[in-house]
Amino acid sequence: MRREIPIAICFLAGIFYTLELFIPHRQVLSIFETVRQWAQILIAFAYVLAIANILRVNFHAIQKNQRDWPYKVVLIVSLFFMITLGIFFGGIGEGTIFDWVYYHAQYPLQSTMFALLAFFIASAAFRAFRIRTLEAALLAVTAVLVMIGRVPVGEELWNNFPDFTEWIMNVPQLAGKRAIMIGAALGAISTALKVLTGLERTYLGGE
């Protein structure tokens, strides 16, 4: 029973949603929509598990006086700070403290982390674009051509550079991309089918 019921639930839900595309009837669509919303509600419930997980892991770290434990305190305090602000003090709308913290702490952190990619992309290019083999050469040369072709200086060098870059994007690049997309789509569909039919059931754990 511990395994059969979940597998049956998964199978029925999956088959039902596979049929969605083929049944345009309004009433059926509204059932699809309702149940899909249930799934989203369940995901909302999972946040409780997630927060419990953060607390457990970090409390254990603090308890055991693990290296860097003071930072775990920062983590837990800021987590509670945000939730308390949002739920008990004034909500999340414009002009609230919650909103202020988002714009002046979370946003700069987020965008600076994002901006680190500029550095990483440069160091990765330096290290990896060594022309060792034909494949590596294709990789490096295309990257350089596209990179230069997309900035004003590329146009200075050669008038048609932007057009050439477009051609790379639209023809050889697209061919490779399309092959991966078609293959991945087949793989994804067959994985989904295996999960639905219970051929691949290990994701549900053991007895």
């Binding site: 414009e94 714009y103 946003y107 987020q110 965008s111 994002f114 500029a118 550095f119 992309i121 440069a122 160091s123 290019a125 330096f126 290290r127 674009f129 060594r130 022309i131 060792r132 083999t133 494949e135 590596a136 990789l139 490096a140 990257a143 350089v144 990179m147 230069i148 997309r150 900035v151 004003p152 200086v153 146009e155 200075e156 932007p162 477009e166 994007m169 639209n170």
Partner: protein, 280 residues
């Protein structure tokens, strides 16, 4: 010489980081304003707005978040400026909750240059509405019913600019500043195909190539892609902004990356490093 090359081959990445930082900071501090031409997608975006008779209404949907601000915010500002300076009326909405504040900021920057423009008469912000594609479709049935109030809670009937605006037929053009999903793709699929509205899009450089097919098929009248697209647009409307400013830094940083790739290879071939196969 050989030792220098060996050093170069395994250069500390922090040295690369310093060069990248400088390649961006220096051009921002000391701009040379390298010239560039305007690409056709940007030109047609501009022309589409130029061809609208003054006094017409344009709907601008600002669907992005602070994460893509460096690329999209300059376009947003430029588009507002272009529309208002041509005496077109701007109605802005947002399908991303984070878009509201950004649209407000963009507008307040434009109003510094065009202080005569009046809220409710020349422009209005109807605010954010949850519902993604559903909102797009419902705008097609009725704009006032979808947005009964503006973002400050004022009733639509009391806003002069909204008089006579019912469906997309009363809108001369749609501009979408798109940071992801829902965005330009959804506007094309849900609105352009059904209601035959003119749609111009401003999007990030990463997704721009995906929208070229829409441009070719005429479902988009113009496309601004990334900071470069924004810079070209700023050039056309003759109001250089942060995108124009960023172009030197963009060029220099690309060249620096290129030079590092070159140095890496020269060092590699002269030192004849251990052959390591590229694994797929």
């Amino acid at each position: 010489m050989k030792r220098i090359l060996e050093k170069l081959e395994t250069l500390d990445r922090r040295i690369i980081f310093i060069f990248i930082f400088l390649s961006i900071a220096i051009p921002l501090l000391l701009p040379v304003n390298m010239d560039f031409s305007v690409t056709p997608p940007v030109r047609s975006f501009y022309d589409a707005i130029e061809s609208i008779p003054p006094g017409s209404k344009v709907l601008v949907s600002c669907d992005y978040d602070p994460g893509s601000m460096p690329e999209l915010f300059p376009m947003n500002v430029a588009a507002f400026y272009h529309l208002l300076s041509r005496d077109l009326k701007v109605i802005t909405i947002q399908l991303w909750p984070t878009g509201t504040l950004l649209a407000e900021r963009a507008m307040s920057e434009v109003l510094k240059d065009l202080p005569v423009k009046e809220y409710g008469v020349d422009w209005v912000n109807l605010g954010f509405k949850e519902g993604r594609e559903v909102v797009m479709v419902s705008l097609g049935t009725s704009i006032p019913k979808t947005f009964p109030n503006d973002m400050h809670g004022t009733k639509i009937e009391d806003i002069p600019i909204m008089e006579g605006v019912n469906t997309f037929d009363d809108i001369a053009m749609l501009v979408n500043i798109s940071g992801g999903l829902p965005g330009t793709r959804e506007w094309v699929q849900q609105v352009v195909l059904r209601y035959h509205v003119k749609l111009g899009s401003g999007c990030t450089a990463v997704v721009a190539p995906e929208f070229y097919p829409y441009l070719q098929s005429g479902q988009l009248v113009g496309l601004l892609g990334g900071m470069k697209g924004a810079a070209e647009y700023e050039k056309l409307i003759k109001r250089p902004g942060t995108a124009r400013r960023g172009m030197d830094a963009q060029s220099v940083s690309h060249i620096v990356v290129f030079l590092f790739i070159l140095i890496g290879n020269i060092a590699y071939f002269s030192v004849k490093g251990v052959k390591k196969r590229l694994k797929v």
